[in-house]
């Protein structure tokens, strides 16, 4: 099964970063499926490291208008398609480095294969601890030049950089450089998956709530006529003598 990285040469070894370090890359003309993630083991490594593969939002070091950002944007323009602001982690594994010989990649299978779409940019990063395991700062070579059309490295300041759109801590180094590096197995054919659930929700309907009030009104009769019945009085005759 082909790997993203087949060789690496390091200028230096470092352990001075807290967060994810890795590679930013763009998939070539064909979709690929990633089945395993890895991290290169450096002599003395003993810690477990989470390795994540994500579709990141574009982040710019030093703000969107800094010279560095403009340079990096111009370099990226025409190479990578626009990346939507839907920064999501597509897969995550925990890599155990203890007991693995230095210079070899330590691998872990993804819970589910991850589909990387043609022409889309992704990032793979290994979570490192400041003062923890050593990791490499160097160059690497890819296993399939037709698959990946751009190699570069990325710096994810913290894990939140994967999930907080607008995080400024993102930049690239010249093509072919890498930190750590992480790695992955890929294949062009969709892997067979064991049975998995597909879930659907059918919402219940709820009767709209109503309120009512009562008013008591008295309809009263009114006088509609007045009749006078004059009284009669005995006639009194007065005579004089």
């Amino acid at each position: 099964m082909p790997e993203l990285i087949v060789s690496a040469v390091y200028r230096d070894l470092r352990n001075n970063h807290e967060g994810a370090l890795g590679i930013y890359f763009t998939v070539g003309a064909r979709d690929v499926w990633v089945t395993h993630l890895a991290r290169l083991v450096i002599a003395g490594n003993t810690q477990p490291h989470d390795v994540v593969i994500a579709r990141p939002v574009v982040r710019r070091e030093g703000g969107p208008n800094s010279p560095a950002a403009q340079f990096r944007d111009s370099r990226r323009e025409g190479i990578s398609p626009p990346i939507e602001a839907d920064d999501v982690i597509l897969g995550r594994v925990t890599i155990e480095t203890a007991g693995i010989s230095a210079g070899w990649f330590a691998w872990a299978e993804l819970p589910q294969p991850v589909l990387l779409q043609a022409g889309i940019s992704y990032a793979i990063g290994s979570i490192e601890t400041n003062g923890g395991d050593w990791w490499g700062d160097g160059t690497f070579a890819g296993g399939n030049a037709g698959l990946i059309i751009e190699y570069s490295t990325d710096f994810f300041n913290q894990m939140c950089a994967f999930t907080a759109p607008g995080d400024p801590n993102f930049y690239t180094e010249p093509t072919g450089n890498a930190w750590v590096p992480p790695n992955f197995f890929y294949q062009f054919e969709a892997p067979e998956q064991p049975p998995h659930p597909i879930v659907d929700l059918d919402p219940a309907t709820h009767a709209p709530a109503t309120a009512a009030g009562n008013l008591t009104a008295r309809v009263f009769a009114r006088p509609i006529g007045v009749a006078l019945d004059p009284a009669t009085f005995p006639r009194v005759e007065i005579s004089s003598r």
């Binding site: 998956q193 659930p197 597909i198 879930v199 709820h206 309120a211 008295r218």
Partner: protein
């Protein structure tokens, strides 16, 4: 008809009165396996403080209150053998009318009142204090009607109407 108040730019899958009691079924959950086998895994629901699953239903974990009002997205995740799938439900928790009041609270009408004579002004209180935006119906229909928020006589009164009358105003769904 859905209520006038809804989330920005999108219709909700379900509109829920903000007085629904605990245990109310919000949605039926259907899980199918990719190979047609029977689902024997577990269901979970989010947000856990509001919803849970009971059997193959998404139900309220507690009663809704006006403080819950607004748009939200609830999730049900089915997990089996390490594989999971999630379905989402866009809900909007809506205020309900809770009180219909009259001004004046009682009325007196002469038995020769003409059709359209004002009887009382009607006010509706919503559970969250928002303005009432629905419509009102008055009964007995032949005797009274609504004119906007005014309860008025629907016909001229006659001596045959003399006595105590009860008029009812109901908020329309």
């Amino acid at each position: 008809m859905p209520p006038a108040r809804r989330s920005l730019g999108a219709m909700a899958d379900a509109y829920l009165p903000d007085n629904l009691p605990v245990g109310t079924v919000i949605a039926a959950v259907t899980v199918v396996m990719s190979d047609g086998s029977t689902f024997i895994g577990a269901l979970s629901a989010e947000p856990a403080d509001l919803v849970t699953t009971a059997g193959m239903n998404l139900v309220l974990a507690r009663a809704l209150t006006p403080a819950d009002g607004g748009a939200d997205t609830w999730e049900v995740t089915a997990t089996q053998d390490g594989y999971s799938a999630t379905a989402t439900l866009d809900v909007e928790i809506i205020p309900i009318p809770i009180l219909v009041e009259f001004d004046p609270p009682t009325a007196e009408l002469p038995d020769n009142a003409q059709a359209g004579t004002p009887i009382a002004t009607v006010a509706v209180t919503m559970s969250d204090g928002s303005p009432f935006a629905g419509s009102l119906n008055a009964s007995p229909a032949g005797l009274v009607r609504m004119d906007d928020y005014e309860l008025v006589t629907a016909r001229a009164l006659t001596p045959a109407d003399v006595g105590n009358q009860t008029f009812t105003v109901t908020t329309a769904p």
